[in-house]
């Protein structure tokens, strides 16, 4: 089952409104994405915690409808 990039972006924005998001459809199959997410909410969090926040935003879709989402996260530069 596939999921489109706009949907991924919308879900992340709902949880992390300040997020700057860029999403790449790696194979053009709507199933393998790479996302780069920058948000102030990530400040002071470990990488694991940052990724968990993104997965939380995707509300259970990661690992199900969304097969592969390579994630890179970080806080904006001061």
């Amino acid at each position: 089952m596939a999921m489109d990039a706009a949907m991924i972006e919308r879900l992340i924005k709902e949880s992390l409104p300040d997020a700057q998001i860029s999403i790449e459809d790696l194979r053009g199959d709507g199933d393998h994405y790479a996302a780069h997410v920058i948000s102030g909410a990530f400040r002071g969090k470990t990488r694991v915690q940052q990724h968990q926040m993104v997965y939380q935003a995707l509300r259970g879709r990661m690992g199900n409808e969304l097969h592969a989402l390579a994630l890179q996260t970080g806080a904006p530069e001061e």
Partner: protein, 110 residues
């Protein structure tokens, strides 16, 4: 989650310094993401135990809840969740993985 599953996971990550929950075995990984982490650990000469979640549906579901992490592979070092494929790869590239392993007393090939 079933307490026995939770206990089994807890035992695995306590008894062995480096544990990788993965799809397939270290010799025959069944998924590219699992294979990538196996390759990094082998590259570093790190001894680890691979646990094949495909042959154990209870662990497969259980580890996701245990770590609050939706995907496989998952790397544990000294009982602590380090991350999935993206994080392990990123940490390897920056040298942070080697540092974490050494800090936790796991020998790494220089």
């Amino acid at each position: 989650m079933d307490m026995t599953v939770r206990d089994r996971i807890q035992h695995e990550i306590t008894d062995t310094p480096v544990v990788l929950f993965m799809k397939g075995s270290p010799v025959f990984p069944q998924c590219g993401f699992s294979a990538a982490v196996v390759q990094i650990l082998s590259q570093l000469g790190v001894k680890f135990k691979g646990i094949d979640v495909l042959s154990d549906p209870q662990i497969r579901q259980g580890i996701k809840e245990f770590s609050n992490w939706p995907t496989i592979p998952q790397l544990y070092v000294k009982g602590e969740f380090v991350g999935g494929c993206d994080i392990v790869r990123e940490m390897y590239e920056t040298g942070e993985l080697q540092q974490v392993l050494e800090e936790k007393g796991v020998p790494v090939r220089a």
